[in-house]
Assembly symmetry: none
Homo-oligomer: 193 residues x 4
């Protein structure tokens, strides 16, 4: 089948090589030249597929099947949220995903294309999945009726991102429990009137 002269084969090889190299030296020191050489591929073959180093990297990271972040539905919303948060945090805890994801977000800070693609391909699906699960819970009366559902993903994941990106404190299961506890219970002294 030579009609498809951009063989999917090479696309895969390149992404895998990019990922391997990124693990070894980090995104910042990743060079297209090194990727091309190690993949045994001409630089043009890479640029024919991705317009820049950043977008190759993004593609490589996001395509490397990060699975298991869909919400289960056991009927217990807190347990289900906890489950997904734990899984996410486990993923980020074990190399290379934490550093790679960090660097990807770092790159997004001065590269609107990366920022947009990251949102579209990762953040929004994740948000939507969480929202769907929360909707179900709401219908089952497991949430405060007046709670601002659209905010929920941000309130729950915001602190995780804050630790990942800013303070680099560990995100332990215990931390997640405290976080869920705090967010579900609220800071206020009593049921607000």
């Amino acid at each position: 089948m030579n009609a498809r002269r951009r063989s999917a084969d090479r696309t895969e090889t390149i992404m895998q090589t990019a990922l391997d190299l990124a693990r070894e030296v980090g995104y910042a020191k990743l060079s297209m030249e090194a990727v091309a050489t190690r993949a045994g591929v001409g630089k043009d073959t890479i640029y024919r597929r991705w317009p820049s180093k950043a977008l190759l990297f993004l593609d490589a990271v996001l395509s490397s099947r990060i699975t298991g972040l869909e919400h289960p539905d056991t009927g217990d919303i807190v347990a289900d949220l906890r489950e997904v948060m734990i899984r996410a945090v486990d993923l980020l805890a074990q190399p290379p995903w934490g550093p790679l994801y960090q660097e990807l977000i770092g790159e997004a800070q001065h590269n609107p294309e990366v920022a947009a693609a990251l949102n579209e391909r990762f953040i929004q699906p994740q948000t939507a999945d969480t929202l769907a699960r929360l909707k179900t819970a709401e219908e089952q009366g497991q949430l405060a009726p007046e709670f601002d559902l659209d905010l929920a993903f941000e309130v729950l994941s915001g602190p995780l991102y804050f630790r990942l990106l800013i303070t680099h404190q560990p995100m332990t299961p215990d931390y997640i429990d405290r976080l869920l506890q705090a967010v579900f219970a609220g800071m206020g002294p009593q049921p607000q009137s």
Copy 2:
């Protein structure tokens, strides 16, 4: 103490120039050569003071007096938190601070020195200030007695960082109100058992 012969004059000029240029072209495209040229300074004069572009930039951003982020104490903890959050968000909303702060955090993702310095010089003081204000509120019974105070800064600012860095959605006063409401009221359906 003969080490201190570097004129504060130049130090100031360089940081200001770096800041100006960063506003114009962004941190990513900021070059030491451009800073040196525009500041009318030799490159060595810069490298004598900062070991890298990243640390110059950090210094420039953090030294450019960002003030007004200390917590007032009007006796109303929610109002006081709101006040500071509004001010922070106003700062980030108006150029150049938002983009610069974003890029600074972006750089921190692959530069441990920047990450450490950012934490020490900006995040930790900010956290401590918030915590102090919350302690006062707690003593005055304005908070749920069991609330996890150490988490509070993360829970409140996490979502803001999430918007700033990830989704780039606007952080309006209304959004802050919704956030405070959600966090104070909690997600749970009733007085928790």
Copy 3:
């Protein structure tokens, strides 16, 4: 033989530019950056071809066809030597060759590679050509039978180099005549036995 993909085109352009610049500002003030800029070429493209400014300069000077320094054979050895010496001196008298050749030799004084290349590519062929012509003359009995032929080139050109490099006195046709006269006649009071 894939090594040869460097376009001869660029090679030529670079040497010509180097030569032009050297004429304008001299070798000492010649900079690789200036050559690259004026030639519209990346610095690497230069460094890929020549390992140093010195060797580029040498190549540029020696490649810029200096012709007409081969010995004629009119049958009169003195006239033929005179002819070549006059031509050499004319070449050096008119800019830019004099200064360029001087500076090239200057560079050779602290750069063995330049010294070696200069010898191989210019001095030795010149010496050999002179020696050949002298051999012919000898066979024709135009030279003292016991004269040290291997010395001849040095005895005749040495004084020219001395003037070129050390005293910078002019090398006029008259001077050449005096030199030939002196060397052919000898300093001694009479025919040595």
Copy 4:
């Protein structure tokens, strides 16, 4: 006379240090910074005495007493010339004088001040001394009456400079003998008419 507050002491130290360093790394890699540091002297202290690196070097080389190049007068002009040539060549043969003198002449090729100073301070006295000795010999009838005395220094030393600067062939006593023999006997076949 307070003008003279520059201690001769330091002047001497600096020249000696320059010379030492030049021996170690060569003139080309000699840096004023290194001279200053090793001499334990501020850079200004050097620049107060010499206007440039080149002139410091010249001064250092020429001041380091090169003696014994004056012509003796034993009555035998050939023997006397030979004596001085041998001594000169011995000096240049043993490090560091050969390389240093070469580099000095190299520098003179693009530095008129050095060239001028070198001529005035070294070449001209040397020439004058030789000429004086030749004059005596002429009066004593040891030279061909019509020989061009002004040329003599050039004819004799030219070949030596040629070897020193261009071909780097050794200048042995034997070579000097051959040179003297050739120059005194002349290249021509007979007593010239």
